[in-house]
């Protein structure tokens, strides 16, 4: 399956600083369609489309909206999660840079559907250079925002990977440390300032205008049984053509890695950033979908010259630095994991260290409070499975 540009359809075509250019390319048609419908009908359309969250977790977007819509409250919020921090991921940045108006339109439709008058775009601090293009899109769209009675504010993060986790992100907008919350309650019942809140990834929200223009049936005709539509990927590492590509869900990994990015001599691929799964070259035909492997869409390719253990050690170092410290399985676990994997990296591991890593991983996956600690052992567990001999030869 070749590249299919649905979410990316405007990138490189529409002038990102011109509303006029956006309108000429069917901009805000989806919003016009949506506000002629009842909020419940909009939600029904999104539910029927089968759209699932593109931030990695894959929760059905329509159901999230429905829960928020049904929560009784005088105030509700929509938050766009633009805290793209997963290592090797830059697709949300690319989309904001090239097509900010589609994001604004998606946010506005989400607000209308759930009954929110205020939306925040939580932009990671490292993307602060995008504030200009994004604020310009908000300002130029003021007429449309008024029609839907919506106000959009950019909230600039302050540098913390954990704030991509929805409850930590909410804490951060409230001006606190980005520590995750105990759940339930989930944001649709109790989110920002304890009010019902929808929180969706940039790419998820950019799918909304497409669905509300072309219809749920058109959308759900693309993809697999449980993964509808397309997925945007950023790919980097040992490839000829680093970049952002969009494929229909279910496309083989090979199409992205060897086809579009033209990688050669591939040893393994990590899908979904530091917390992502490792796919060895032998499984390069794995389809990309929620049923198999997907993550947030950051893909790193490693050729045969790369040291598996060093890659795992760098992932462990990343989590050790980025753990928020609230729950001890993650706070302590990431530290010990780095300690042990460093022994392998330095060829001084002990025979019991493999078992120690397995026990530690299992504990973290079962008992960490949020996705950070639960997913931190992924690359370790996968490489122990596929590349055990590389570990064993470093035991002294």
């Amino acid at each position: 399956m070749p590249e299919k540009r649905v979410v990316l359809k405007n990138c490189g075509i529409v002038n990102p600083i011109s509303l006029k250019s956006y309108i000429e390319n069917d901009g805000f048609k989806a919003l016009e369609n949506a506000i002629k419908m009842t909020p419940t009908d909009v939600i029904e359309e999104i539910k029927r489309s089968g759209l699932r969250g593109r931030g990695g977790a894959g929760f059905p977007t329509g159901i999230k909206w429905e829960m928020t819509n049904k929560s009784v409250s005088d105030e509700k919020y929509v938050i766009c999660n633009a805290d793209e921090g997963e290592v090797g991921t830059f697709k949300d940045r690319y989309m904001i840079e090239n097509d900010p108006f589609s994001l604004i339109e998606g946010v506005t439709i989400a607000c209308y559907a759930v009954g929110a008058k205020k939306a925040y775009i939580y932009l990671r601090a490292e993307y602060n250079f995008l504030i200009g293009v994004l604020q310009n899109a908000i300002d130029q769209s003021s007429e449309y925002l008024k029609k839907a009675d919506v106000e959009i504010e950019i909230f600039e993060g302050a540098g913390a990977y954990i704030c991509g986790e929805e409850s930590a992100l909410i804490e951060s907008i409230e001006g606190k440390r980005g520590e995750v919350r105990y759940r339930p309650p989930f944001p649709p019942t109790e989110g920002l300032w304890k009010k019902p809140t929808v929180i969706d990834n940039v790419e998820t929200l950019m799918n909304i205008p497409r669905i509300m223009t072309e219809g749920a049936d058109w959308f759900s005709n693309m993809g697999t049984d449980r993964s509808k539509g397309t997925k945007v990927f950023s790919i980097c590492g040992d490839v000829e053509k680093v970049g952002v590509y969009e494929l229909v869900m279910g496309s083989p990994l090979r199409e992205l890695v060897e086809g579009l990015a033209q990688a050669k001599d591939v040893k393994m691929v990590q899908i979904g950033g530091a917390s992502g799964r490792i796919v060895p070259y032998g499984n390069i035909d794995t389809p990309l979908s929620f049923e198999t492997v997907l993550g947030a869409g950051g893909v790193m390719v490693f050729n045969s010259t790369r040291d598996v253990i060093e890659i795992v050690r760098m992932n462990a170092e990343f989590f050790e630095e980025e753990s928020c410290g609230k729950c001890f399985p993650c706070r302590e676990g990431t530290k010990r994991m780095l300690e042990i994997i460093t022994r392998f990296a330095e060829h001084r591991a002990k025979p019991r260290d493999i078992k120690a890593l397995e026990d530690l991983s299992e504990t973290m996956m079962l008992s960490s409070l949020c996705g950070l600690g639960q997913a931190a052992p992924n690359s370790l567990m996968d490489t122990l499975k596929y590349y055990l001999s590389e570990y064993e030869m470093r035991i002294r």
Binding site: T89, G175, K176, C236
Partner: protein, 148 residues
């Protein structure tokens, strides 16, 4: 005695959002020293530890003095694969400081950071709010000259 600039910043952050306040104070070239954080805590009506726990949590806030220009160079895997280590060495040599340090004239501080989402132009860094990519050791002196 609350610094005038800090007082002005506090005045237009009526909701008391500590992240926004601390960022703006720091952007105005005021270090988040113990005294400054004490002043902010008193004005907002929270404890010193409430302010400190935020200033020490986020990587774009610093409880140590930072330079007029803040260099953040990415050390994550995609940049590592494009040899960010030799670029880091070139910056160390050019400025005469190690990561985490500040130059004697306070013009630069230099930090290693995790992925900044610039993997398509790796190895990459940020100086203040500007991004630089496809770095090589040879490009460093010229880039830093703009800020000297």
């Amino acid at each position: 005695m609350v610094n005038n600039v800090v007082r002005e910043i506090l005045a237009h952050h009526k909701n008391g959002n500590l992240i926004s306040i601390l960022k703006e104070v720091q952007d105005n070239r005021i270090d988040l020293s113990k005294d400054v954080m004490m002043d902010i805590a008193k004005s907002v009506g929270v404890s010193f530890s409430d302010v400190y726990e935020i200033a020490s949590f986020y990587s774009f806030l610093s409880t140590e003095p930072i330079g007029k220009n803040v260099i953040r160079i990415c050390k994550s895997i995609p940049c590592f694969m494009k040899s960010c280590d030799v670029v880091i060495k070139a910056i160390e040599k050019e400025l005469g400081i190690k990561p985490g340090e500040i130059t004697a004239d306070k013009k630069f501080s230099f930090h290693l950071t995790n992925c900044i989402g610039a993997c398509d132009i790796a190895p990459a860094m940020m100086i203040n709010k500007k991004r630089y990519g496809n770095l090589t050791p040879g490009k460093i002196a010229q880039i830093l000259d703009e800020y000297k």
